[in-house]
């Protein structure tokens, strides 16, 4: 696709120096007639540009891959979206909806965001997976208190969850983008440690808003719609404090998908935040606790008055 006026024409030499980096740029950009390279999110998935029916699906590109026809993809997006709203415990439907909605444009944009960044490129080359075997949890427990690894493992222990519970990606038709989606899913817990938001519904919604502003994945945006299911006070806080914080930081910060979590385990969380450009939001746990104590005090007073009469 050539263009007379390429927007954001990037000369390869300004962002790449090694032959490997140049090769990556070359495969993911398209030369214009002027010879400079324009980087645009391309649909380089040659395989599924050929129409197929459910009776002759193309072979899978990665283990567990299921190529879907267009009708199937639409049905999956609609069906899983509606059913996961009705039953939010169906994590598999939420995951499938996220995958169905991330194509055509959004997952490719995220993958290209990784390719445009040196650490992102390293992640795509190394393909690290975050599981309980790849992260040594006992080692993380031995790290200094305010390090990323320590806050992460404390959080895992407190919530009684393990890093192994993320479902594999199945419905994305590009092997690299499937890995990007998998990486995003596995990194979600680290976003909690990074932002300091708790895993209550209020914290999850605020984090989803941050993720949407940062990664632009549509499912994160839809997840924010559950702001309308929160309590009045929480909703007010979202519109006044956490929503604006999320948008401001998501947009201004670096792409959090480009953080090599395995290497940042010993980093101090505040240092990491400063590097990425994320400001710490007001401590949600603290605010909620104060509000709870306040409510309890008022309730106690009301009861005392009631009993006195």
């Amino acid at each position: 696709m050539t263009s007379l006026f390429p927007r954001g024409a990037i000369r390869p030499s300004s962002i790449a120096s090694t032959p490997r980096q140049l090769a990556i740029i070359a495969t993911h950009t398209q030369p214009t007639h002027r010879g400079t390279a324009v980087a645009t999110p391309v649909d380089d998935n040659i395989q599924t540009s050929r129409r197929f029916s459910v009776l002759n699906r193309p072979p899978p590109l990665y283990p567990g891959h299921i190529p879907l026809t267009r009708l199937e993809r639409v049905s999956l997006a609609l069906g899983s979206g509606i059913l996961s709203l009705r039953n939010p415990y169906r994590a598999d439907l939420i995951a499938a909806c996220g995958e169905a909605l991330s194509v055509p444009y959004f997952i490719y944009r995220l993958r290209d965001a990784m390719l445009s960044h040196p650490v992102g490129r390293r992640i795509l080359r190394d393909r690290p997976k975050i599981t309980s075997t790849s992260l040594s949890l006992p080692h993380l427990r031995s790290l200094p208190p305010n390090s990323l690894g320590r806050t992460y493992v404390n959080w895992l222990d407190r919530e009684h969850v393990s890093p192994d519970t993320r479902l594999p990606v199945r419905f994305i038709d590009d092997e690299e983008c499937a890995y990007v989606m998998q990486r995003y899913r596995e990194s979600h817990d680290f976003y909690h440690s990074l932002t300091g938001l708790p895993t209550v519904r209020e914290g999850e919604v605020a984090l989803k808003a941050f993720e949407f502003a940062n990664t632009l994945l549509p499912m994160t945006g839809f997840a924010c719609l559950s702001v309308f299911t929160m309590k009045k006070q929480e909703r007010k806080r979202f519109w006044e404090i956490y929503g604006p914080w999320a948008v401001r930081n998501g947009v201004n910060a670096e792409e959090v998908i480009n953080v090599y979590w395995e290497e940042e385990m010993a980093t101090n969380v505040d240092v990491l935040r400063k590097r990425l450009g994320i400001e710490t939001p007001p401590d949600m746990r603290d605010i909620r606790k104060r509000e709870r104590d306040q409510r309890r005090k008022e309730k106690g007073e009301r009861e005392k008055m009631g009993m006195g009469v």
């Binding site: 899978p60 567990g64 199937e72 939010p88 994590a91 598999d92 479902l167």
Partner: protein
């Protein structure tokens, strides 16, 4: 806070409960239409056929592996089995099963004769669909209280569903009902020779690792004059109906399985196993090979051949 552990536990459960997930990761071509290369293990010289290659959907696996994976499929679908059947066949499976049992007419006694006892063996009948119909037809419609039904299934989870559902039956019917966990390919020690009047298997035989062995066992346990009746998915004759049916099977059913039951792989296996089942004529030949006598065509197509009832009789001599 409450939603998080719930989400995590569901996610953990769905990755561990759908056991077909993990094995499917190994062969990269497992999702394609064609079979993978056959397992290259040699057959043993003993009677044990568990290393013989057979089909699991479109994959080729050994018989023992197929048994394991079918067990995984049915444990996974046991609870939502009825809802899924309704959705896959748009409720028509109920009509098929009604016609199947009423055409067999268990417990029927000709007018003027005394009611004779009958013992019915319902194979792969875990959830009880067919067995309950047998009991109703025999005890209520034919007013023959001497008819007993034994439900046999290899999968204990399906039997559990059947036991739960049987608790709402009238007491006399419950008394006539028994449950047996067994492998239909080898009922030695569990069902005696020449002991059954009627052997039924509905939508089960395509899941067997070794169909000829199951047919031979059916021949063994039936009394001379006993009836073998099999209700199973089959080949559709009409080309237009067939193309619509295939697209529904391979497109809609796995999607419905995913959305409703959270298990796409089990339903993908189910539709692939339907595709692999022999045609009406081929299965009729298998029944003849097992020693049964077949009257005329020997099968009856239902809904254009989407399902078919095969019948055979064990010869008297």
């Amino acid at each position: 806070m409450a939603s998080r552990p719930g989400l995590r536990s569901i996610a953990a459960a769905s990755t561990s409960a759908s056991r077909t997930f993990a094995p499917r990761f190994v062969p990269p071509t497992s999702r394609s239409f064609a079979s993978t290369h056959p397992a290259s293990r040699p057959t043993t010289t003993t009677n044990d056929t568990s290393d013989r290659p057979t089909s699991f959907g479109f994959e080729t696996v050994t018989e023992s592996e197929k048994r394991e994976r079918v067990a995984g499929v049915f444990s996974s679908v046991a609870d939502s089995y009825d809802r899924m059947n309704d959705m896959m066949s748009l409720g028509v499976h109920r009509l098929w099963k009604d016609h199947y049992v009423s055409s067999l007419n268990p417990g029927y006694t000709p007018p003027g004769q005394a009611a004779r006892p009958q013992h019915i063996l319902d194979i792969a009948g875990g959830t009880g669909d067919i067995a309950f119909r047998h009991l109703h037809t025999a005890h209520v419609l034919n007013r023959n209280p001497d008819v007993r039904v034994t439900i046999s299934d290899i999968n204990p989870d399906m039997l559990e569903v059947g036991k739960k559902r049987s608790s709402i039956l009238p007491a006399s019917q419950q008394a006539a009902l028994s449950f047996l966990q067994a492998n239909a390919e080898d009922l030695t020690g569990k069902v005696a020779d020449n002991s059954m009047d009627l052997y039924t298997v509905a939508f089960g035989i395509r899941n067997f690792s070794n169909m000829p062995a199951a047919l031979q066992e059916a021949h063994r346990v039936l009394k001379p004059g006993g009836v073998f009746a099999c209700l199973e998915f089959s080949k559709v004759g009409n080309a237009l109906l067939d193309s619509v049916y295939k697209r529904w099977s391979f497109g809609a059913i796995p999607m419905i399985g995913h959305l409703v039951a959270g298990d796409r792989d089990s339903y993908q296996y189910l539709v692939e196993s339907i595709e692999n089942f022999p045609s009406q004529e081929d299965f009729r030949q298998l029944i003849l090979d097992a020693g049964f006598g077949v009257a005329g065509q020997g099968y009856e197509d239902l809904t254009g051949g989407i399902a078919a009832i095969h019948r055979g009789i064990k010869p008297l001599a």
